[in-house]
Each structure stands twice: as C-alpha cells, then as structure tokens.
C-alpha cells in the first residue's frame, strides 16, 4: 500500500486538531505554549510532505523558517512568562484580566 501526499496531509490535520484542542482547553500558559508548538510541528510535517511529493525544496525552506520563528517565540515568550510569574505568582490565563475594558 503506497503512502501518498494525502496520508501526510491527513496526519498533519489530525495533529493540528490536537493542538487546537490544547489551545482551547488549557489554562496554564506554559501548557498553552506546548499546544502552539504542536500546531507549528503539524504544519512542518505538511510542508515537508508537499516538498517531497512535488519535488520542490521550497517547502523545506519554509519549514526551516517556521522552526526559527518557533525558537525565537519560545525565547521571548518564556522571558515574558517569567516576568509575569515574578509579578503575580501565577501563570493562569484567568489572572490576565487587567486589560479588560
């Protein structure tokens, strides 16, 4: 049985849906970051699969840039999270209601 492009796209969709479930049900901000990492990884799988089945390297290039953006997002996000934790002692999303009008 041959593995085609749609197999990888279906897998990528399933992983993206898992990440969306995580984004919807998590309240802890650290675990919310984990869910966003899952989202980025599922997109990377789709990029690599399309790059392989179309014989084009552009998909892999985009996957590299997605990885670079994910790394910088983690650095800045964890810095902000540590500052927030030092200020309030909690990293729950419900605490962050100061900007509500």
């Amino acid at each position: 049985m041959e593995i085609g492009l749609s197999h990888y796209l279906v897998l990528s969709t399933i992983l993206f849906a898992i990440g969306l479930i995580g984004v919807m049900r998590r309240k802890n901000l650290l675990l919310l970051f984990f869910a966003t990492e899952i989202l980025l990884n599922s997109v990377n799988v789709a990029f690599a699969a399309i790059s392989h089945y179309y014989g084009d390297l552009t998909g892999q290039m985009f996957a590299f840039f997605v990885i670079a953006i994910a790394a910088s997002e983690v650095a800045v996000g964890l810095g902000l999270l540590i500052v927030w934790y030092k200020r309030t002692g909690k990293i729950d999303l419900d605490m962050m209601t100061t900007m509500r009008g």
């Binding site: 749609s6 590299f64 840039f65």
Partner: protein, 190 residues
C-alpha cells in the same frame, strides 16, 4: 511496504504522544511526551527524504526549545495539577468551525493545484543537505539573514526579560502602585 509500516507506526506514536501532551494534567508528563513527539515527528522528515530538516528538528526542538521549557519550568510551580479551562461555547464553536474549514481546504488543495510546477526543483546527484544549502544561500539568502537578526533580537529580549536582576525584578521598579504587584514588592523589599 516498509515505508507504510514506518508511516503508520510513527503516526500512531506521534498522535498518542501529542494527545498525552495536550490532555494530561501534569506539566512534567506534558513536557516529556512533547519531547518524545518531537523526535517521532523527525522520523517523518527522514522518511520523506528531508534529512537535514529531520536533524534540525531534533537539534532545535528537542535540544533547544524543550530544554528551554525545562529551564522555564524550574521557575514555575509545576507540581500542582493544572486546572482546566472552561471556555465559552462561542470560542469552541468558532475554533471548531475554523478546524472544519481547514480540513475542507486541505482536501481541496491537491485537486486545485494539479498543474503546479516546482519552483526550485530537487537537483540530481546531490544529497539533501547540499541541495538545501544551495537553495538556502542563493534564493533565500535575505530571509535567512532576517531570521538570523530575529533570533538575535529574541535572544537579547529573553536575556533582558528573564535574566537581568533576577532577585529584584526590574520590571517591578516603577510598578509600585499596581495592585497586582503588592505581594512581590513586599517580598522583594524584605
């Protein structure tokens, strides 16, 4: 045949690992299963012939990003169970609708793009890392440099936000009147 077995094995492993990472209430279990899932994701890259991308996935994600998360978890109280969020039905409805739309688009995309042509085709006779280097340092040189500058900015931002004056928290210095920071100010003053 071998490819199909490997694909299904790693698909089941990845989906179960990411499900554990999303559904568990222990932060440490979530981190560990996320790291395992990242390594299983890199197996797909090796199956697809993107060897360099698979190595980068292992080094950057499981080496750097998850180590950063592990260091970040030292600051937080991760022993207690994570309280689940009760989301509004509006948000759940909207995001499920977006996910359904995404699935439709994914299945429609290969039908629409049948006549697509490779912009930078894979060259014959060179390995994957060599081909990636050729394309990355000719066609994508400017985005590469911009990504390097962005990583530098993120590194400096992370150091300034998290690292500077770890004991007094410089972001609290002009926040004395904020009601959120009363306890930590007292803690820092004592």
């Amino acid at each position: 045949m071998f490819e199909a077995i490997a694909f299904y094995l790693f698909a089941i492993l990845t989906i179960s690992m990411f499900s554990i990472a999303v559904l568990t209430s222990q932060a440490l279990y979530a981190l560990t299963s996320l790291a395992a899932g990242m390594i299983f994701i890199s197996a797909f890259f090796f199956i697809l012939g993107a060897d360099f991308l698979g190595a980068v996935q292992i080094i950057v994600y499981t080496g750097a990003v998850l180590a950063l998360y592990a260091f970040g978890m030292m600051f937080f109280d991760t022993t207690r169970d994570v309280v689940e969020k009760r989301t509004s039905p509006m948000l759940v409805f909207g995001m499920s609708g977006m996910a359904a739309l995404l699935i439709v688009l994914i299945f429609a995309a290969p039908i629409v793009s049948d006549n697509i042509a490779a912009l930078y085709p894979v060259q014959e006779g060179v390995g994957n890392a060599q081909a990636v280097g050729m394309v990355l340092f000719t066609k994508y040189l400017v985005p590469f440099e911009v990504a390097a500058v962005m990583l530098l900015v993120a590194m400096i931002g992370g150091i300034i936000l998290a690292g500077k004056k770890m004991d007094t928290s410089l972001t609290l210095l002009d926040e004395d009147k904020s009601p959120l920071s009363v306890e930590t100010n007292e803690k820092a003053a004592s």
